[in-house]
Symmetry: C2
Subunit: 115 residues, 2 copies
DNA sequence: ACTAATAACTTGCAAAATGCAAGTACCGGT
DNA sequence: ACCGGTACTTGCATTTTGCAAGTTATTAGT
């Protein structure tokens, strides 16, 4: 599947072509929180639906932000991981979280966006 | 019109409820580039359509990121401006642009995201 | 005052993305 | 062989987006 055409060469526009939707960055957030499996992503409080999760993981993989490891022979589950390119999004999530904590009432830092 | 229900109290999720789409942050980018009028936003290379621009400006206004000034008596045009809350998004745009310039081939810093 | 032009929208409708419920496939254990 | 759980896929209704074509208001020129 071809990577979708970008709208312009502007870095912000190009970045939004990659993760400019309501779900992609939440999945990335969950990666930073240590999640690696389908069911773990489904368990997040925002309740992503299975078809969206499946398609987003595929898109993120196509974009090179996520890699799917071999299914663990112990558990049989595929293991999803952030690539280096994906991990470099950490400052973006940091900036967004900082803005929201200051500017949107009722937001709370629940999960450590660690690493 | 009521502000849409947020999906969770997570700051990232809440922030995406505000600007998690393909267009909102591009409009914000244009504000930082000094644009203030409808036609200026339309002239950006990504070619937003008029109905989306109209509805996004309204949503951003409802969220308190954008304020509409009185129509200038000289030109008759409404003047759109970022509020302080909107201006505080500058670090977010900075982080996104920095990531894209490093991680997406063919992106170029075209407009000064100044202010 | 009349006309033309431009800016700022709104409307209608097709296309795509999202959301929900249900179903299928493939383990691993008993 | 059967069962339960995880990882999906499928079908379809709803919502959002995208494009083209209006509509309204103000300004610029004659």
């Amino acid at each position: 599947m071809p990577v979708k055409a970008r709208r312009s060469v502007c870095p912000i526009s190009s970045a939004l072509d990659v993760f400019g939707d309501k779900w992609s960055l939440l999945i990335i957030r969950d990666f930073f929180a240590g999640k690696t499996s389908y069911s773990e992503f489904l368990s997040s409080p925002e309740k992503i639906s299975t078809n969206i999760l499946s398609s987003r993981l595929r898109l993120l993989e196509e974009q090179g932000l996520v890699a799917v490891g071999e299914k663990s022979t112990r558990t049989g589950k595929p293991v999803y991981r952030l690539t280096e390119k994906g991990k470099r999004l950490h400052p973006v999530l940091d900036a967004i979280a900082a803005w929201a904590l200051e500017n949107i009432e009722g937001t709370e830092k629940l999960i450590a966006v660690g690493e």
